[in-house]
Each structure stands twice: as structure tokens, then as C-alpha cells.
Symmetry: C2
Subunit: 348 residues, 2 copies
Amino acid sequence: MDSAIDRHLRCPRTLSRRASDDYRPPFPIVVARAHEDVTQVVMAYLGVQYRGDEHRAEARETLRRIVGQFGLDDGPGHHDTTHHRDAQGRDNLVAVGYWRDPERYRRWSARPEVAGWWDADERLRAGVGVFREVVMPRVDGFETLYPFTDGLPGVGAVLDGVSDEVQEHAYWGAMRDRIPRSQTDRMTGSGELEVRGDPAGRAVVVGHDDVALIRSGQDWSGTEPGERELYLEEVEPELREAMDFLRDRGERLGCYSNRYVRNVHLDGRPLDATYAISHWRSLDRLERWAESHPTHLSLFVAYVRRAKRLPRLRLYHEVSVVGADDQSYEYVNCHPATGLLRDARRPD
Amino acid sequence: MDSAIDRHLRCPRTLSRRASDDYRPPFPIVVARAHEDVTQVVMAYLGVQYRGDEHRAEARETLRRIVGQFGLDDGPGHHDTTHHRDAQGRDNLVAVGYWRDPERYRRWSARPEVAGWWDADERLRAGVGVFREVVMPRVDGFETLYPFTDGLPGVGAVLDGVSDEVQEHAYWGAMRDRIPRSQTDRMTGSGELEVRGDPAGRAVVVGHDDVALIRSGQDWSGTEPGERELYLEEVEPELREAMDFLRDRGERLGCYSNRYVRNVHLDGRPLDATYAISHWRSLDRLERWAESHPTHLSLFVAYVRRAKRLPRLRLYHEVSVVGADDQSYEYVNCHPATGLLRDARRPD
């Protein structure tokens, strides 16, 4: 039985974890492990926003260009692409890239093919909007969770392997207990989002300390037909209801943005996988929602009651808590409720 | 905003509580407060077990005798009486008495009218069984929770008032955070129950450290008709399902005993109130069940979704963690799965 906190990230605690030393989780879970030279990772959500059939081709072409840029030197070690429709009825295609080294990301994003493209005035005149939401979690500020050990999605794909079975899971609070910073820091967050620039044109959102984000994924590509049907008919609707709630009514709970996205091929064909990616004012707001909101608990119950009959469904998550200086959010030609724009205030 | 841990019971922490200092609960809750001279309380569950209509009169007469004994000098400051049918189909009438001082309880229980009656061989020859399950929580080892401030049921009735609104509630782990011992002690429990004597005749169960018990109550006597119907038709069935599960299948989860009881008058007429009283191997077993079991979470969701429409429903609880020497369990002429007898092992 291992700790989710890797040996080189352990330190004398000023805050106790919730699990007692003799706690034994009811089923096995592993976390991603990284070599000690990994100190900070990068998660760059690069999106294209469009409305209606007439802009679909341009949007796909734009996504293709972004993914093409990933192939340049210093590009991400891993990426995936998704589609979702947002609360305003716009379609969005997002490519997320993962780097295990922020210096490589900085070199990549400073390349003329990349920086020049994002900064060009053509972006403002295009028939589609684009946005980039980039967070750079430090290794003591993120955690992962997988009930499988092969083919890790998301950030796990750019790290170096998996742990043994870990102790900190299957109780509320385990997410926090898996984040190394929780040993000495409650990560309570402070400040608020601020928008600079023109929300209807080119705008940036300035983050605050301890913004939390969670990517929580579902992959049914390896399920048998009966299992697939069980998931899609009896669990997925509960997931969708919870995600719609967060998307539409999460603001007062501290959820800045929630996207429930479908993994897609570059040509738009859907894959049998989805994930939710949401941004939160702080980790404790995410905890409160997950632990107590009826929509999330109904989903939890719907899944737990069927878990034994869903052996090939792959669920996983990654959770990050990031400092103000380790975030950047830019929106170009997007509607003003896109992403973290919605809840950002104008400076006085 | 007050702490659930009263000022004179606070001490330097070696364990942090789960709530951060800036946590604000979403609705107000108070806890019972006791003067500093209260160091230990007593909760004595005195039961009568019978089978079938032919023994009902004797059972009621026996309950009446027990409650009559409560009227003697040094009797409890408060009591109530209940009925439930157990997993073996036996009826049980239980009177629970509360004392704010263990010395008074000891004097009372040593009185010839009390001790002589319980110890008499007639108890073994009666048409009904009797049992007494007595716990004596110390003030640093129990907590209470009420969303109302008048007419406190249970242990609150023998204490001295209520707190201001407290901070430690409405999150999983708040129960533990309200118990003063949690400041320095995980209360993880150790040992196992042992039975001495003859389980089919007169037997005692010897407890172990940190047995936890919860009384969780529901009083709909003050509800309007629509609210009453909503509770009884849409929430109570979920409660019953969760309680039946714990009663019948709780053993492997660390639940030694669960009784979902109806408050009754001495003559058997039901009151519009129920409570569950359960005993656990340790507080963390109770936490795990409450936080993660589908039956309990379904109940939680069923209630939360309707809470605003149940304004006069009175829910409350009291939770105790008791040392081995502060428990005594005796069963006379009861079936061998009664109460804590079921999970107690015979010494080698």
C-alpha cells in the first residue's frame, strides 16, 4: 500500500490527512508517478468556437491548424481533441496539449508559427473564435486517479508510470489528501478573476491563487455491448444532468466554467469517450459540490450501484490547484460567457 | 459563528479539522451545551423483547415497570420509549434513560428495586426477554446536532442549553470535527466484542475501546399535512431501506447493531417520531457507510431535494465514542442475535 504523495514530495505535515494510517480502501487505485526532474507540467486547452453549420468547415480547419502546430519542435508530449456545445448554443472544438516541462511549452508557444498565428489580427476577423486556457500546475499541486495502469489519458500520458495501489481514495477528502501541498496548505484561494481587453474581441482573464480544475473522464470504448448500454442508458444521463447543472448554475457554487466534452477525431467523428473539464474558485468549492450536491450524489449512487457490472468502463481524473502566475486565459472573437470570461469582473 | 467544541473542551491540536477557518456552512445548526461540571453522561437503553400477541401484555407491563423504576431517586433526567421489530421478527420495547452524572446512574442502578429486579432469576423464567445496553460517553467523546433550539430530544434534554450557530456541519467529517477528542485522537477503535455467559440465558457483552453509536432522529409531529405526506411517502421509505440494509447486512461494514425504532406511548400508541440507534466498531466505519453507501446517499439525496418543503420536520442526532470501561451490555432470555450479542465472539 503506497501513498498517493510520492516519496520526494513528502514533507513534515502541519495539516493531517483525513485517512487514518490503518485505513484500507475497498478497491485498488493507482496514481501517475513522475521522475524527480519533473517540477511543473502544462495543460493547454486550445479552443475553436463557432456557430452553425456554415462555420463548421472553418472551425475544423482551425482545429487542424492548432493540432498541426503541436507537431512543431517543443510541442506537447500528448494531446486529445474534443467537441462540446456550450450554454449559449455555440459549438466548440478543443485540443488539449500536455507538456512535462514548462520551458518547452514556452519555447513552443513563442515560435512564430504559434505566437504569430494567435496574435494575428486575422483571428479577430475570422468566422470562428479561438481561445487558449493554459494552466501550469507544479508537481506539489496536482493529483491523478486511475483504476487501470495502461494507456493513461491526460497528464498521465506525459509522466513516467504509475504507483502501487494507493491508500488515499474512496473517501471524501481523498482528492485533497493526494495533492502534496495539502500536507501544509489548505489551498483556500483568494482574489477574483479579472478581465482585461475587450470581451467581444480579444480579452485575457487574469486568474487568482489556488484556482482548481478537474478533468474527470469516462471511456467506454472497451466495454461489451451490454455494459455499454448500461453505462449509456443508466449512468450517462445522470452525468449529463450533473454537468448541465454545473454549466448553467455553477457560478454561485464557485464553478467558473464546466465543459462536458466528447472526444473526437480531427475529422469530427466521435470517439467512445467523454470528460468533464471544470474550473473552480478553490478546491474546497469543488469538494463541497461533489460531496453534497444532489446531482453529483445521484450520479455517484447510479454508478456505485452498477460498478460491478461496468468492469471495462474506464473512469479517471486529474485535479490541479494552480497559482495566479501559473495560469493564462485568452479569448479572441468568442462570446463573452466563454470559459472563465463569464465570471471575471472588469477592473474598476 | 461558534465552534461545536465548547470553549472549555478545546485543546492544542495534533490533528487538524477538515473545515478551514473561513468555511461557512450553508444553513444554521446548533449543538447542545453543558456546564463545565458535566464530565460524563449516561445513556441506558433498557429493552423488553417478546414474540407474538400472547406476550404483548407481559412486555408492556415489563416496560411499565422499567419506566416506573426511572421515577425512583437518582433516576434519569429524561427518557423516551420506543417499539421496533428486529431482524428475527421479535418485537422490542425499549426505554432509554439519560443521566448527566454517572454517579447518580450508579446509585440508581444499584438500588434494590432496580438491581434486584434485573438480577432476579425470574427474568430467566419470564415470557419476555430483557436487555440493558448502557454507555457512558465522556464530554470529550460525544456530539449533538440540532436545526432547532427548543425541546431537545435525547441527551440534549439533560444538558444546559444550546450553542450559537456552529461552523462544523454540512460536510462529511463534520461529525468527527464536532467531537472534542478528535482534536488529538483518531478514535480508531481496537479489539473486538466478547460474550460471556449464556447467550440464550443471561449473557454480557464486553465492549472494546472507541465503540461508536449514533442516534439519528426524525420527528414529524409538527408538520402540516402536505409536509407530513411528503416525508412519509418520499423520504421515509428511503430511510427504511437504508436502515433495513444496516440491520441485515451491516456486520461486514462494522455495524454491530441497528434499530430503527418508533417512539411510542407507554400504552403502545405510536408517536409521530422515529429514530435509528446503531452501534459501530469505530467512528470511521460509521463515516464510511454514511458517506459512500448507496442506501444512505439515496436517502441523503431524497431529503436534500425536498428539504425546503420540509420546514417543520425535526431531524437531529447524537453521536458518542466510548471507552471499553464505559460500556456494559447485558441480555437476559433474549435471542442470540439481539443487539451487540450478534457480533460478539466467544472467548477461546
